[in-house]
Symmetry: C2
């Protein structure tokens, strides 16, 4: 894979990376949250429903008509008293999940939110439109399709924990890939983090992300999986505000043939991939598109680094890098990249 970039510097970092203690005393200036994006929608003509709120109680009439907010996203921020990083770090989750992706690991150990706070970054963790605390709207009246729900066997396969036929309802009988870093013993706990998703809200999601960038940036954005496409597009939409883009295991990206890469010449990009990419058919199909987009970045002179963890000797990482047992090691590499790009301080 000649596309893959193996900067000597990154290799050296991989060797020297020492996981920072993720649990630290943090001096916090402010904790808060807000919703951003979206607009009002009006529903009319729907029949009144009778709902029994408490078993045994008489039904109450509920009028489903009226004005509602839709298309907003949720953002929680933690600002440090003395941030060491130059810009706040925005963390955008992937499909079928929420901002919880960044907060916690299913084995109960601290997640990347804590890691990057401890490393001196102000951190903004968000729930995209329709996910988690962003709320969601009636369908098909407002959202234009039905939601779908990811079965645990599908996550086991797509997140590259093990072969599809290694799934078993009984946790003790599941077969993970050899050397797997994901805490597979906590996979059912991870299943509790799942939230439903729609396939028809991408435009609203991008608009909300772009509004967030306008409100809180300049910033560095870290995206995961489905968030890849939103992150790449956010940088293209506001290249002066996005000071760095960290793309963890992107599943999507803009069409490189229609991308004006010159606009983002000043935005350093880091793409990170884990292990077992050749063991899962969908990733085999997704990866070439990611490589093409990366090639477009490099051809246009964008400062872009492709961090292939196995090539750096870091093996066993799943799609959910931030939950893997060596998540601190991977986070430390990313932080070193930010230091190298002048986005963070050692």
């Amino acid at each position: 894979m000649k596309l893959l970039d193996r900067l000597a510097g990154i290799a050296a970092l991989a060797a020297s990376a020492i996981a920072q203690p993720a649990v630290a005393q943090l001096s916090v200036k402010e904790i808060g949250s807000f919703h951003i994006g979206g607009q009002e929608v009006v529903l009319e003509g729907l029949p009144t429903r009778e709902i029994v709120f408490t078993p045994g109680a008489p039904p109450l009439k509920v009028d489903p008509n009226g004005e509602f907010e839709t298309g907003q996203m949720y953002v929680q921020y933690i600002r440090l008293s003395q941030p060491k990083a130059r810009y706040p770090l925005l963390m955008w989750h992937g499909g079928g999940l929420s901002g919880v992706t960044w907060e916690t690991k299913p084995d109960g150990k601290p997640g990347w939110q804590q890691f990057f706070l401890a490393a001196g970054h102000d951190v903004f963790v968000s729930d995209a439109v329709e996910r988690g605390r962003a709320g969601w709207s009636r369908y098909p009246e407002v959202f234009k399709s039905e939601p779908f729900f990811r079965a645990k066997k599908e996550g086991w396969d797509l997140f590259r924990l093990g072969p599809a036929d290694g799934w078993n309802r009984d946790p003790s009988k599941r077969q993970a890939f050899e050397g797997q870093q994901f805490p597979v013993e906590a996979y059912d706990q991870f299943g509790k983090q799942a939230v439903p998703r729609w396939a028809t809200n991408d435009a609203a999601t991008q608009a909300a992300y772009d509004a967030l960038v306008k409100r809180v940036c300049p910033c560095v954005i870290m995206v995961h999986s489905q968030g890849g496409n939103f992150g790449y597009a956010a940088a293209l939409n506001a290249p002066d505000l996005v000071k760095g883009l960290i793309v963890i295991e992107p599943s999507g990206s803009p069409n490189p043939e229609r991308t004006e890469f010159a606009k983002i010449k000043g935005v350093p990009h880091l793409v990170v991939f884990g292990d077992y990419l050749d063991r899962q058919p969908l990733w085999g199909r997704l990866l070439p598109n990611q490589q093409k987009y990366f090639e477009g970045l490099r051809a246009a002179g964008v400062d872009a680094t492709w961090l292939d963890l196995p090539k750096q000797g870091i093996r066993g990482n799943s799609h959910m890098l931030m939950m893997d047992k060596n998540s601190d090691q991977v986070a430390a590499l990313i932080n070193e990249w930010m230091v190298a790009k002048g986005l963070a301080m050692k």
Copy 2:
């Protein structure tokens, strides 16, 4: 209303209450989150669907069958380096909302999460089953009914911002109650915090709350609105673990005739109500049940205080006390009550 308790001490506190600065430097030991409660459910025999993930792309087949987690709740915790309070404070939201209730005010000012952190409490803010980051499940296959969505006009009425006929889609034409403390100019922003709800998940919600209590208590629990019933029941289910219960504008409570009040004799209770209760018909019907439950507490010798804010000279509070302009003043009163009960330190 002879039921209402007007302890001289509380009256004096109301007069002396000085809103604490809600934005403070916090020394934080740990930030994290987890899901708790629920169980696996298996779906079988549902037809495969074709979903177009990206406009223009060919449809992908999605199998909706398999194992899913359902009935869990979400909890985020912030632990201080040096908590002053004796126990962590658990904050449980009301109906149609999520833990965001406690985090932020729609005018962007800091919410009670920050207030109580600044006052020295470790704080656990949760999203109940089916709400926010807790996720939700297919219906009618898993959840047994359809969800419903609260129109903004309904919230305007039920949350006692103004008379029902004072609602107008145009914010400049809405008529609020005179002296209203809710930041009505930010009501549409508040509308973005709404999440759908079901009427058929109460048992799962109570089970998840009870599991949370077992995991993180001894604690003090603060509940709002629909959370009232869950909080009262949680104290009854674990009276040794719930060291204090603060019930903000409860809309529900257990049936007092079937409640073993003697079990919770050691659990001090504080009930807080705002203004305009006689201006909204539903609250006129809900309030007598709340008073009956309170009467049951007092008759059994439970240390129970009913804080009627208008009777203490604090006027204009809506159902969303924690978002009102004088929210810090109300929070300070509650904190003083905790101090008086030995649950917090000045």
